[in-house]
Symmetry: D3
Subunit: 160 residues, 6 copies
């Protein structure tokens, strides 16, 4: 039996924190789908195509990781992909409660889908895409937070 999992998110843009979760999840499952939510209401900085391209570049070393976009509910996407496990990274600070609320809501929507939480490396536990975009806009060197190809993309956005 092939063990598959979905790691959904907005990834606007992908950070070393996300990549650490991906590395851990890829080791535990035969197949990992990174599912990029369109999230138009969050007014993302990068288009879905740009986000998929940045993630694909960052995960090309993993044979069992695939990057896709999805619309609608995560649980419906999981059903379409015949996957029962949704992975979420749980940072030590700041998103515990939101994650629980979302996971319990998803369980009510489809009790077949199980959310499992994984912990990123402690030194990435404070990383957030939002904060990275903010300090990048203010001129920060963000090479400690994102891969270099993402850094270049972020710098490009700033100049637009």
């Amino acid at each position: 039996m092939t063990r598959k999992a979905i790691y959904p998110g907005t990834f606007d843009p992908i950070t070393f924190g996300h990549l650490d979760v991906i590395e851990r999840a890829a080791a535990l499952y035969d197949k990992l789908f990174i599912a990029v939510a369109k999230s138009e209401d969050k007014n993302p900085l990068f288009t879905v195509a740009e986000r998929i391209e940045m993630i694909s570049e960052a995960v090309k070393k993993y044979d069992n990781v695939e990057v896709e976009s999805f619309e609608g509910l995560v649980v419906d996407y999981a059903v379409r992909k015949q996957v029962k496990v949704v992975i979420r990274g749980l940072r030590m600070i700041s998103d515990f409660e939101y994650e629980f609320q979302m996971a319990l809501t998803n369980r009510k929507l489809n009790s077949d889908i199980e959310t499992v939480f994984m912990m990123p490396k402690d030194s990435y536990s404070y990383l957030s895409s939002r904060l990275i975009k903010e300090v990048s806009r203010l001129g920060a060197d963000i090479s400690k937070f994102v891969p270099s190809h993402v850094e270049r993309k972020l710098r490009g956005k700033k100049d637009e």
Copy 2:
């Protein structure tokens, strides 16, 4: 002496979590006013009139519950209604700190008004109007979260 209480909120829209708090509060007080805040700055999905109508339908079985809208401060509304108790539901996750901040601010504004917190049923502790609107927009079946007449209204909004 008639014991009266106010249960204020935006109720955009009312959920089973709110209704659970209402049922508990209606059992403890002779008169319960559900006070719908206009909250124009929150850009609500439903008009005040729509929200009042949905709540009224949901609480018509309680003799001692009345639904009204209010503008301005909750504590000023309480004074106008000659009520000293403000009820707030305290979900296990996500609103503890905001609720405390608001309650302490209200106490500073009028020390005669007391905020008392009640706990909704554990299985409703994760419900939020915001999340329900989000998953409804994405196509979710929300019949486990809101009464059927609210569900129909939400579906109607989506088609607009």
Copy 3:
């Protein structure tokens, strides 16, 4: 109808934080029972008789407050007293989660009993009987934390 409430606790010893909750609850209910748990497993510093005496002295100005001890479950005590409301103070720090856990357990044990939470004055939000006993033992002037007759009793304990 007489509105009655129970305010249970160990009160080892009573602090200005407890007294603030009592003042607020006494204003909202016709009758308030302060229910002193024997809590032998917590190895209290004061006997039940001493704790009742200290509380009685501190609340003698309220006509509608009565002090008693109880054994067993709070919900069973509430049934014996024909009271449906259990009051708990909710400090801004340190006891939120334990209080919720206890309130939900009590609700499972007897769904007729409702726990309502009240907030003590902000400047008492950090007071704890445990901490007061600790700093008193180390020689602190605790007159800002407890009534003077409790302070004397605590000093007496230290000299034993």
Copy 4:
């Protein structure tokens, strides 16, 4: 490849909350080891043998679940069993921080072992073995918290 996981704990005694996590984990892994820590320093109410017996009775319906005791570090036990995944239930209240602290410590001790967190059913999120023992001792009907054979065992302890 056989996917195996360990669910370690003291289980003093096992509750419906633990059993809910076990059911979810047993569905995700080919083999689940329930690893009962001796935890002598926690002064458990039940012996390891009693705890294993109560768990075994409760999980006999699952073909892929095995109950064992272990001494020493969880990560060392995992290595001996050739398992890379440690399951922990994450209740909405009360143990988030301790769980994270333990998981990060375990990762430092052996980075090959991954802790994954699963959420028990919302209505079990407040259950704790400690609280159940406490209310049982005070005479509570605990049939909503533990299986009937555990309830009988707990009653037996009280009469000792």
Copy 5:
């Protein structure tokens, strides 16, 4: 050696909570720079000039406090001012996690700059500029939250 510190923020507008932190920090350092972030993306109610004017009026009694605006990263501003300490007030509720996330990000950006946290007076622990603006707009008397000259400015904004 002159001990200098920076207290950065948006201060939209300055509250008694901020002023309490300023008083404490001014007592611990030879020189304190209050650094007003432009924060255009937060869409502040007051212009930088207005915010600086209100703060200057409120801190004129301190000889060692200077008010300035800054653009860009706090850590870069600190380098320009040759200051190694950034002060942040830590309220008992609501900003702990965000503050930690920001402080750790700043440390990654420049490890020479140290963030130290100070606690405002307990009775100011719930104050937030956002909430004060909200209740002021709804007609509240905010004289307990901000200095009188700030109160007048806020009332002026409402009439615009």
Copy 6:
């Protein structure tokens, strides 16, 4: 003027987390007193003399750090040493609320003494002396958590 600070604690035993806070504080103050609380009620594993010896060995590279024991209240010790600043490390997890409670109590006991909080390195944010003693007793290699001379001492205790 000499800027002095106290870093009080039980240090049973000192960890890399404590040492990281000491390094940061020693850089900000002219003189840093590490004040070892006797804490007999906590039943420490090491005697005060052993704890002082272990700390002294670990901090000998800092010219401005002195190690002492103290009895009684921290604020009284601070007065005796003519120090106005008490340093506390604030780990991302697990001690925020206790630290605030203690700091506010100390402020009530002596408003001249200011508690300032510093953040240890993120990768030490989960370290606790209690957990280290526990895993050491269970046979863990604790060289990532404490200096080697502390590790030897801990191993020695285990063999007693």
